[in-house]
């Protein structure tokens, strides 16, 4: 579990995070959502130590990250995997070398064992026949998969994903979401995902933190988000008419006004107005 309390962060005069507290739960997909500029990326970077908060407390499974020495942080980071928005693969290395890099740096395995482990994780992310390709030669979705493979190759306890679906088509986005979800369950990791993607929120949002202008605005899960009365959250999540209609439908379902797809088809074919 990753817990953070009263996080404040500003850049010069601009306050980016204002008293944010929350807990990211083990074995779950923890989502940080919010509009652009709401502070979610800064929060994630504070959690992994790429930014230092002005004040506040961050702890990993009860151990204070804020008070850790640089040496201890380095050790902890070997248990952290991160998937970056642009994948951040090393351009000069092949897919295989990228995934093998953390093993080369931190493990004492023999080359054959490392090779086996690399193939295992590449297989796990459904990436075959790409070992010898360079990042410039593969698609965006494949890059994300390589990024995930590199992030999990050392069996981390914590996985951070910064907008894993950005730049991907909806179908590939769902594949990546499912992959992250499955890996989280399989390895019982604490996964923290920064996202704008509403599909991700609805599909894998087990613990959601909604931020607005640097403040924690709402927390809950993908079931509760439908019924939330928080205006800011509803404006953000159900911004389009399509999503608003979907929400209305789900609420009617929940109230028992409509029970299944057949009822819905009846409503549509009969032209009944939904209120």
């Amino acid at each position: 579990m990753i817990a953070f309390k009263h996080i404040f962060k500003s850049f010069g005069e601009k306050e980016v995070l204002n008293d944010v507290s929350h807990e990211m739960q083990t074995g779950k997909c923890n989502l940080i959502i919010g509009t652009s500029g709401s502070g979610k990326t800064v929060l994630q970077k504070c959690l992994v130590g790429l930014f230092e908060p002005n004040s506040g407390e961050i702890s990993y499974d009860g151990t204070s990250f804020t008070d850790m020495t640089a040496e201890n942080r380095k050790e902890l980071r070997q248990q952290i995997g991160m998937l970056f928005q642009g994948s951040a693969l090393f351009d000069s290395m092949t897919v295989e070398q990228n995934v093998m890099f953390p093993l080369d740096m931190f493990s004492k395995l023999k080359h054959a064992e490392k090779h086996k482990r690399v193939n295992e994780v590449l297989d796990r992310v459904n990436l075959v026949d790409a070992n010898k390709k360079f990042p410039a030669e593969i698609s965006g979705g494949m890059k994300k998969r390589v990024g995930i493979a590199r992030a999990i190759v050392l069996n981390p306890k914590y996985l951070f994903c910064d907008e894993p679906n950005s730049g991907l088509d909806p179908q590939t986005s769902m594949v990546i979401d499912k992959l992250i979800y499955d890996i989280t369950k399989e390895f019982n990791m604490t996964t923290v995902i920064n996202t704008h993607d509403m599909n991700s929120v609805m599909e894998i949002g087990e613990n959601i933190l909604y931020m607005d202008q640097g403040k924690k605005e709402w927390t809950g899960n993908n079931e509760q988000i439908i019924f939330s009365k928080n205006e800011l959250l509803n404006e953000f999540i159900f911004a389009s008419k399509f999503l608003q209609d979907a929400k209305d439908m789900r609420m009617l379902e929940a109230k028992g006004i409509i029970s299944d797809n057949r009822d819905m088809e009846d409503i549509i074919s009969n032209g009944e107005e939904i209120k």
């Binding site: 380095k74 980071r77 995997g81 991160m82 970056f84 951040a88 931190f106 951070f160």
Partner: protein, 250 residues
């Protein structure tokens, strides 16, 4: 104020490079890779420049020495000393500031904006030690070697041009090379080349490592790093010449 801020960050970057390597083998591999990139990668341009500079200096010296009283061996002496003292270390390093400096700045800048440096930090790797240190160490090892190659090729170029233009015979040139030779000049040139190697590698590394923004900023910081490296090379050249060739008398 901005200068002191930048200079402070530069010193902090240099301090940050010194830490226990996470895996010595990987650091060694990176160091060898940089030696190949900086040393072997620049050998061609260094060879061409130094050869022609030596040749041109022989022809131009002969053109200016019109007095029959001055022996022809003087041409070889002037070519030797100008190549060893100035052309090989300074001119070659100014060219290398463009070749190597822009490469280091743009490589690190690209790694910064595409979050590759952040990825290294997240893995628990000291990115300054892993990315910057091998570049500086490789430059300190290979650039003095390139300068020695430049000295040899420059003098050889002068010899070849001198004989090809019938300015002087090879025997006269060789005799001139041995007259009044001061071995300290080579030591001085090597001191300069070590200083310039540090400038050429560390300043572009600083500008690349701390770049912010996108492709435009990478280009800007790369250009800025080359310009500042060149200015620093000329400044260091003057200071070293004053200190080592013309020490203050008490």
């Amino acid at each position: 104020m901005d200068f002191f801020n930048q200079f402070g960050r530069y010193l902090l970057m240099l301090k940050g490079m010194f830490s226990r390597p996470e895996n010595s083998k990987m650091y060694w591999k990176e160091f060898m890779h940089q030696c190949s990139d900086i040393g072997i990668g620049s050998l061609g341009i260094v060879a061409i420049i130094s050869f022609f500079i030596g040749a041109v200096s022989a022809v131009q010296t002969a053109y200016q020495l019109v007095s029959p009283i001055i022996p022809k061996t003087t041409i070889a002496q002037i070519v030797r000393d100008t190549v060893i003292l100035e052309f090989a270390p300074t001119l070659v390093c100014i060219v290398l500031a463009g070749v190597i400096g822009s490469k280091i700045a743009s490589e690190l800048g690209n790694m910064r904006v595409s979050e590759q440096i952040d990825a290294l930090e997240i893995m628990g790797i000291n990115s300054k030690a892993y990315l910057v240190m091998p570049k500086i160490a490789a430059a300190l090892l290979t650039i003095p070697m390139l300068v020695i190659v430049a000295m040899v090729l420059g003098i050889w170029g002068g010899r070849l041009a001198g004989t090809a233009s019938n300015i002087l015979s090879t025997d006269t040139f060789d005799r001139g090379l041995l007259e009044n030779f001061v071995p300290y000049n080579v030591t001085f040139a090597l001191i300069k080349s070590y200083t310039f190697a540090f400038i050429i590698s560390s300043i572009p590394a600083f500008y690349g490592y701390y770049v912010k923004g996108g492709a435009l900023e990478i280009g800007r910081s790369s250009t800025k790093s080359v310009v500042i490296s060149c200015i620093m090379i000329l400044l260091a050249d003057y200071i070293l010449s004053q200190l080592l060739l013309n020490p203050p008398t008490s």
